[in-house]
Amino acid sequence: MNSLDVRGLSCPAPVVSVKRALEAGTGELRVLLDDGAPRENVRRFAEGRGYSVQEEAVAGGFALTLTGAGTEAGTPALSVQQPASSRGAVMLIGSDRLGDGPEDLGRLLMRNFIITLLDLNELPDRMLFLNTGVLLTSEGSEVLEALEALGNRGVEVLSCGVCLDYFKKKELLAAGAVTNMFTIAESMLQARSVVRL
């Protein structure tokens, strides 16, 4: 059984690491993590994807064993266990506004859109923020709380490093991680579908 140690990482990094490990086809995964939010978020995420979760208190935290529904422990067949619909969609957010028109309306609609995603069952795999889109992931944004909640449900939030640099927000990234054009281009080409906002 593969294992993963995410102790000491703050949310949503534990969920993102677990998601990657599960998607890499690990049959059964043992995750060492901190009690509190990481433990709750990873449990909720794994159960939401149909895994059974066994918990065990260990020194310095908790160990969660994630086993795919209907698989025997150790059988590396999880790629077919995961709901296909929740994988492979990439959302490209190239602006802090949604639609053409008055700027304040566009900003309001974009905030509204991102917060509304929290009510949906099917979420994108990744959200890529480009150009003024990075204003949504950096300090002062109104959607940081929503992006953190999305991260805890396994959505990878990635912001373009060049764009953060341009807006002098490099040190002010407050949701998700920084990425580069290579990853952005690769994610888009490998995605099952790309939703461009």
């Binding site: 304040d104 309306l105 309001l108 509204n112 917060i115 509304t116 929290l118 009510d119 109104e142 709380e145």
Partner: protein, 87 residues
């Protein structure tokens, strides 16, 4: 996005809710413009969320500016309890 005990003020026009947000933010009050929770099915679809601690100042500011919400709810557990307003 709405925690237990939070207030959700629903407005009847997008212009009013944007004006209310601008005014409250100007006063540095802890408010957030959010999509109206689906359970409340408002026509306009927008609401302002605030906590108990900000309540009196938020509502005082809105009343003074003539920007009272159409209806006000408070989140209690899984439900929204109507505090004020029509319907």
């Amino acid at each position: 996005m709405v925690r237990d005990g939070d207030y959700v003020a629903i407005f009847n026009s997008v212009h009013r809710v944007m004006e209310a947000e601008r005014l409250l933010k100007e006063k540095r009050l802890e408010v957030r413009l959010i999509p109206a929770p689906r359970a409340l099915a408002a026509d306009c679809g927008l609401a302002i969320r605030y906590s108990e601690s900000a309540r009196s100042e938020v509502e005082g500011t809105l009343a003074q500016a003539g920007l009272m919400p159409r209806v006000l709810y408070r989140k209690n557990g899984d439900d929204f309890q109507k505090i004020e307003g029509e319907l």
